[in-house]
């Protein structure tokens, strides 16, 4: 079995927390890293570290080659048409800010509209609010229903001649919902609207292919897909990136600089000002090779089994209410327990060595919709197994006991 000894690939999971073997169920916040990824950082700094692109010496050539090789790996992984369409950024947050500022803002006039959904992460809300405020434009919201699914019919009511852009997440980080982005992209394009998909919670769970999906922009964070912090990917269609103004100015994003006239570089470098997170980019390539070897379709299936197992077990506990019961879900279960605040659940589970997240998960509008301050959230990755879930269930039962 592919996943049988997989915990051994993740050295952090060997430790005990509060006297119990660590059960890590907070992968939607950030995933743990396989040895290959940790070694990649080590190898980079022990053998190849150098600044890139401009150096003629051996180390610089190695670092440049590995950095650009990672771009190729990502190109293939997401099925982009060209590695010119891959921009390295800090993470999904920066990617969305970049598109908001460099693509959308210049298009935006007073009273224009941008559409997002009610289940977005703050990263896919605040950047749009910021440019809407500056340009006196409006944010329109695709509502959700009680199951935590988008009410898609509303999208058709929202779209109009003033709509300048749409941005929605592929998978919700607090509800687990897999959104019907193919349909949404189709609606956008039928109305000549460009669209961005926030894939921060998708690429680690689902196979994606930019050519089939046809999103104009897509993004994700490395640290949620088994790579280090501080690196992420913005995908953009070549013809759109090529027309865009740069986001940050500095070294490497220019062709030539004089005080009178500066000529910007070609894509993707135009959007990578300054020294990038070189070791992070290379390690991201390593992480993607690691999961590609396992096979992303195998991962989808394995995690779906875990999700179903956990859901049915949690449903047997009367005091528990699951928040987010969409038909299509990926790797995330949010829940609340009658009479116990999620933070207390989190602390008590931690005392059993179980790491879950408690809070609003940077999705306050979702919390407002369900009229709850917070949820407890267990989220899964390839290194989890049914045994982890059994331990979770047992600890939840103890937690309910204590508070009864």
């Amino acid at each position: 079995m592919l996943f049988e000894n997989i915990k051994d690939d993740f050295p952090i999971l060997e430790q005990e927390i509060n006297g119990k073997k660590l059960v890590y169920l907070d992968s939607a916040a950030t995933t743990q890293k396989p040895t290959e990824v940790i070694n990649s950082l080590n190898n980079y700094y022990t053998n190849n570290n150098s600044n890139i692109h401009r150096g003629v010496h051996t180390l610089s050539q190695r670092a440049t080659k590995d950095y650009e090789q990672s771009r190729k790996i990502i190109t293939k992984f997401i099925g982009a048409a060209s590695s010119k369409e891959i921009v390295f950024v800090r993470g999904a947050t920066e990617a969305i800010n970049l598109i908001a500022n460099s693509y959308v803002k210049p298009l935006l006039n007073k009273n224009d509209e941008i559409i997002i959904s009610q289940m977005e992460h703050h990263a896919n809300i605040v950047p749009w609010q910021m440019i809407c405020e500056e340009k006196k434009a409006k944010l329109r919201i695709i509502p959700i229903d009680n199951n935590g699914e988008l009410i898609l019919e509303e999208l058709n009511n929202l779209v109009n001649a003033k709509t300048k852009f749409i941005s929605v997440n592929h998978v919700s980080n607090s509800l687990g919902t897999i959104n019907p982005i193919d349909t949404i992209i189709k609606v956008a394009h039928q109305n000549n609207i460009r669209i961005m998909i926030d894939g921060a919670q998708a690429v680690q769970h689902l196979e994606i292919d930019m050519k089939k999906m046809d999103a104009d922009f897509y993004c994700f964070s490395g640290h949620k897909i088994y790579a280090p912090t501080g690196i992420g990917v913005l995908y953009g269609k070549k013809e759109l990136l090529e027309k865009m103004q740069p986001y940050q100015g500095g070294g490497d994003m220019i062709k030539s600089v004089t005080f009178e006239k500066t000529i910007y570089n070609d894509i993707p470098n135009r959007f990578e000002a300054g020294t990038p997170n070189i070791s992070g980019a290379i390690a991201l390539g390593e992480a993607i090779e690691y999961i590609t070897q396992i096979g992303i379709h195998n991962i989808t299936k394995y995690e779906n089994d875990l999700l179903n197992y956990a859901t049915s077990k949690l449903k047997k506990i009367n005091e528990i209410k699951i928040i987010g019961e969409a038909k299509e879900k990926a790797g995330v279960i949010s829940f609340v327990i009658d009479g116990i605040h999620p933070h207390d659940i989190g602390t008590i589970l931690d005392s059993h060595g179980i790491a879950i997240r408690a809070g609003h998960h940077c999705t306050q509008p979702v919390m407002d919709f369900y009229n709850i301050p917070a949820t407890a959230r267990a989220s899964f990755a390839i290194y989890n197994d049914k045994n982890d879930i059994d331990k979770l269930i047992e600890a939840i039962r103890k937690c309910i006991e204590v508070f009864s």
């Binding site: 605040h341 999620p342 933070h343 207390d344 602390t347 809070g359 301050p373």
Partner: protein, 146 residues
């Protein structure tokens, strides 16, 4: 004994289930709302002062067990105390839950919150009502912590 017993002591669980002075105060001279936007905890403190001394005090709001129990025990503790005594209590309590050093145990019932120290993410839960209290006494109406 599980480690969380250090934090979720019987007394705290009891105050969470049956919070004392958990109502509005018809007649009050001082009031403040505390809010921790990151976890959604909210607490309102009402105080009726008689000169420098707290005559009546109550709280309303919703939050986790730690913040509810802390507010409940706060109301029990500060009744009939004067401003100076309360300020000292606040300082001692703050030290108790944040300082790495052992704190002298002159805090009575409040001492049960010492366990919070081990959970830095929960310190704000324990201190939210206290910050609201200090704000109320100083005439501020709303505070936010996170």
């Amino acid at each position: 004994m599980n480690k969380w017993d250090d934090l979720y002591l019987e007394v705290i669980l009891d105050h969470n289930k049956n919070p004392r002075n958990n109502h509005k105060l018809e007649k009050h001279t001082h009031h403040a709302d505390g809010h921790n936007p990151l976890c959604g905890d909210r607490v309102s403190i009402n105080i009726l002062m008689d000169g420098e001394t707290v005559k009546e005090v109550s709280f309303t709001g919703s939050g986790c067990a730690i913040s509810t129990a802390s507010a409940s025990i706060l109301t029990e503790t500060i009744k009939n105390k004067n401003r100076t005594e309360i300020k000292n209590l606040f300082n001692d309590f703050h030290n108790l839950v944040t300082s790495e050093n052992e704190v002298e145990k002159k805090l009575g019932k409040l001492a049960i919150f010492e366990g919070v120290k081990k959970y830095p993410a929960r310190v704000k839960c324990a201190t939210l009502s206290w910050h609201a209290l200090m704000a109320a006494l100083e005439g501020e109406k709303e505070i936010t912590t996170e």
